[in-house]
Symmetry: C2
Subunit: 203 residues, 2 copies
């Protein structure tokens, strides 16, 4: 098999794309509840956000990675959860509510100005003025705990909304990322976005 010179597949590669965004909200998830607490700045190290419960080089395997025994320590590629205000506005529109706040979803960072943010691909780097860099690892999936938190934060009259959240938020729930280079993130920061080469592998 290795003796046979095979043709290389003609896979289309999309070039690196650069764009810009802006930091609209920062929050830390200190306790066990899903909601996060807003701050004007966050310090990130190689292990994640200082004081956030998702920090660490490893994390316990959860329902998102059903192929691992629950609780087993695995590589932590989920230091931060990031959403965009534009995507949250679409979710709010679908739910018929005035707004969905990033903190309700436990998002550590909310950005604006990056189109289709929840589809920003794996390997994308977000560069901040302090020198901090985040690397995107996956699209985030909505969960029922976030839906319950949204319902809890809305005025009365939205009973049952928790169950509608997951379908409304599918592919709009932002991305998760790890800290590539430590530094500070601050409200209003301009973010330089570098989307790496992309292609689709079909096997």
């Amino acid at each position: 098999m290795a003796d046979e010179v095979r043709q290389v597949a003609a896979i289309d590669v999309v070039s690196v794309i650069k764009c810009r965004g802006r930091v609209e909200r920062l929050a830390v998830a200190a306790g066990e509840e899903i909601g996060a607490r807003s701050l004007d700045r966050l310090t990130v190290t190689h292990e994640g956000i200082v004081g956030d419960r998702h920090a660490g080089f490893t994390r316990p395997a959860d329902v998102r990675v059903p192929w691992f025994p629950r609780g087993e320590p695995i590589h932590n590629e989920r230091h931060l959860s990031i959403v965009s205000l534009e995507d949250l506005a679409v979710i709010a529109g679908r739910l018929g509510v005035e707004k969905v706040e990033p903190e309700w979803l436990g998002a550590n960072l909310a950005v604006s100005g990056i189109p289709d943010f929840s589809f920003i691909p794996r390997g994308t780097r977000l560069f901040f003025p302090s020198g901090a860099v985040l690397a995107v690892t996956d699209q985030n999936a909505p969960c029922r705990f976030a839906g319950a938190e949204v319902e809890r934060n809305l005025p009365p009259g939205h009973e049952g909304l928790a169950l509608k959240f997951s379908p409304a938020a599918k592919r709009l729930r932002g991305v998760v990322a790890y800290v590539d280079r430590p530094g500070e993130l601050a409200m209003g920061d301009a973010i330089e976005v570098r989307v790496p080469e992309q292609w689709v592998w079909r096997g």
Copy 2:
């Protein structure tokens, strides 16, 4: 901007793809030279291959990430380098040599049976019988040091091949990966491959 309900982009998402491969070669890079030493099994921890110079939660920034100050500690998403025998056979054919061995390139793992292996996307998980899991982070780029090592390992009569290596090996140089779950990799292991959902973001 956040007040306006925007349409969600119609981005095509390719479903999860599963396939299988096989471990054909294992090697550790212990010293400073690029070449690696073959072994029958490798132990991997959350920091990478035990005894390999690329192990660690962080690594010093190098020429591959020119946006960082050289030597600065950044997240280590390059615990292992992985190639396929099929891709190496194509490189050998292009160079007009009998073979290119994985160890010459410093590859820690050579696999077979996975088509277009060097294009296997970011986020792909490789599952091994021991329970070890590797996660793919990027396509690897050929470098002139690997070309020099290939030339050094070939019989006389291939002078100047080092310079031809990079163009011949472009997009055939395999991928880099981190250890998602610790365990052992062994010669002949069957590998279960899980390619995540894929799409192309166009900004």
